[in-house]
Symmetry: C2
Subunit: 338 residues, 2 copies
DNA sequence: TTGAAAGCGCTACCAG
DNA sequence: CTGGTAGCGCTTTCAA
């Protein structure tokens, strides 16, 4: 065993095997033009010294890292975990490693992560934006780093983007509630500056307008979700002279929080939400949701990215994937008489 | 804007600003000893050229990458997503990036990922083992790469390890079912070569033995879980002359699969399982589980890792975290008369 | 089939 | 306070 902290280099292997450094390089990289006997001898030295190629040096020389970066909001959220899984699968197929970072919805952190990845010279970047200005990426894109946006579009720059049709999804969900006989329907969204939150809110408004239904003053909540904000929003829309009989939630977090609040109070309200979660189908009643193709978003984004990395130079493309209503019961509770 | 694919280097910045390369280096790295006026001029050149330090070169020179690798089973699994989140938080605090790879329970892929990370010269590695031989890591450890194991211990080598007390956890869960009056209790585990599966199985056997209860021939299933295997195992243990009245599941996946099967058949069986999931508390009945401190496992592993990276040379340490029984209802269904 | 030399972009070390 | 030089470990290029 070598001394602690040491690391054999190609040079070490070369002198151990009695060949030139370049010959070792050829063997390590499986390049042709090495006599089998020589290759054999080199391989033995490699094994004996425990040599492992230093990819840092390789990267420096070649300019390609065979790695991509993924900036998302929170790797602990099931939605993003699924997205990561899909991205990782595609990356693995391309022989690429995946570096992940969570922005926590903080624009500064998104930027710091993206630039840190660029400093490592990742071949490409998939970003779920938290920032409202992506011009900071222009020098990077100009220098040849491929960038694809997922879940939300870029701001102030153009790039390949993969989105869910959020307006249409929310429209379908809310329309479903309306068809169930509801006329007073609440919407619990997220911070209004978040693209998906804004679009789903729009889908809600469109559906209400299409059915010629008014929207009461206390029926909409657009705030970063936590137990407190969702709870009080729900209490507000369920009380007063015009209580809602159904609620549509803007994402998996608000849905779960609303669910907990409704369980606590025992209110019999129809509930549907954007995003599906693993156990939603086992609840009583099971959750009616508008489901995104989470894996498909990640897969598509990764494939667009590798197309760019592969040299594709076409104009920026935006892929919009459909969301689909899954009827399970919670959204089919009829409106209370009145 | 520079030509496509170009990238200004320190040398470019230096000549642009009319200073020596080393001065640029000082400014970029915030080193002292540069006159404010000079620094200002350099900063302007940096901004103007869109310069960004090439960390590949930096890494090559310094030997430290400020990045760690995490090899786990599947980033899409909520358990590992939570673990990642905790690891990433600690890494961020140490200014380190996180490279993640999913082994899919394949020893070859675990090894390939770990070695790929080492080739990138990550400063350290957190591994959730799929392999039963980690001697391949010896040259890496010898060369100074810190390695910590999480969720499952290393095989044939020694290293810091963070585990849950799986035997005790399963023992407590099964004992709880026994206290509820059950005498015939089934166990649905995972592939027996998986450490956690084996230990939880042991905890089950211990609990049965401690209560002097026999274990029927068809009461235990140790197989990689899918709807088919769990379904048939469950049908087997619920039929025949000695049907179980309660089932303990070995992890979140088997629990969910069993839950679905029981819903499908409508069998009234007490059910408890290892691992908690987000919506388990909202089911009817809510799931009684033995919960691990998932975030704590990740946090502890990451902290042990950075202690090693920081130069700590003490003997390998094994931290065992407790699992705690959460009583919610599904495990308190009394045994059917008979 | 093999080898020698140049240099990727940066930091460490020593001069001025 | 500033600059030059060496060299991290590898690949590229060209020569033998």
């Amino acid at each position: 065993m070598t001394m602690y902290g040491s690391r054999p280099t190609m040079k070490d292997v070369a002198s151990h095997a009695g060949v030139a450094l370049k010959t070792v390089s050829r063997v390590v990289n499986g390049e042709p033009g090495v006599k089998p006997r020589t290759a054999e001898r080199v391989s033995r030295s490699i094994a004996e010294l425990g040599y492992r190629r230093n990819d840092s040096a390789r990267v420096l020389r070649k300019g390609k890292t065979a790695s991509i970066g993924l900036v998302l909001e929170d790797i602990g959220d099931p939605f993003y975990a699924m997205l990561s899984r899909a991205v990782e699968a595609v990356a693995a197929r391309h022989g690429s490693l995946l570096i992940t970072g969570s922005s926590g919805e903080d624009p500064g952190r998104e930027r710091a992560l993206a630039l840190a990845f660029c400093a490592r010279r990742v071949d490409g970047l998939i970003i779920v934006p938290a920032s409202d200005d992506h011009t900071y990426l222009l020098p990077e894109i100009d220098a040849g780093i491929a960038v694809v946006f997922a879940d939300r579009p870029p701001r102030l720059i153009e790039a390949d983007t993969v989105l869910t049709d959020n307006v249409r999804g929310a429209f379908d969900g809310v329309t479903h509630l309306i068809r169930g006989g509801h006329r007073r329907i609440g919407f619990i969204g997220d911070a209004p500056h978040i693209y998906t939150a804004a679009h789903r809110h729009q889908g809600y408004l469109d559906a209400m307008a299409a059915a010629a239904l008014p929207v009461g003053g206390s029926w909409v909540s657009m705030a970063a979700p936590d137990a407190g904000s969702v709870g009080s929003a729900l209490r507000r829309m369920l009380s007063g002279p015009e209580p809602v009989t159904a609620v549509f939630c803007g994402n998996n977090r608000t849905t779960v929080l609303a669910l907990r609040e409704l369980r606590r109070t025992g209110a019999a309200v129809a509930l549907a939400g954007f995003d599906d979660l693993e156990l939603f189908d086992l609840l009583t009643p099971a959750m009616t949701v508008v489901a995104q193709s989470t894996g498909e978003i990640g897969r598509t984004a990764a494939e667009l990215l590798f197309r760019r990395i592969g040299g594709y130079m076409g104009p920026a493309e935006c892929v919009e994937l459909p969301a689909s209503l899954i009827v399970r019961g919670s959204g089919e509770i009829p409106p209370a008489s009145g």
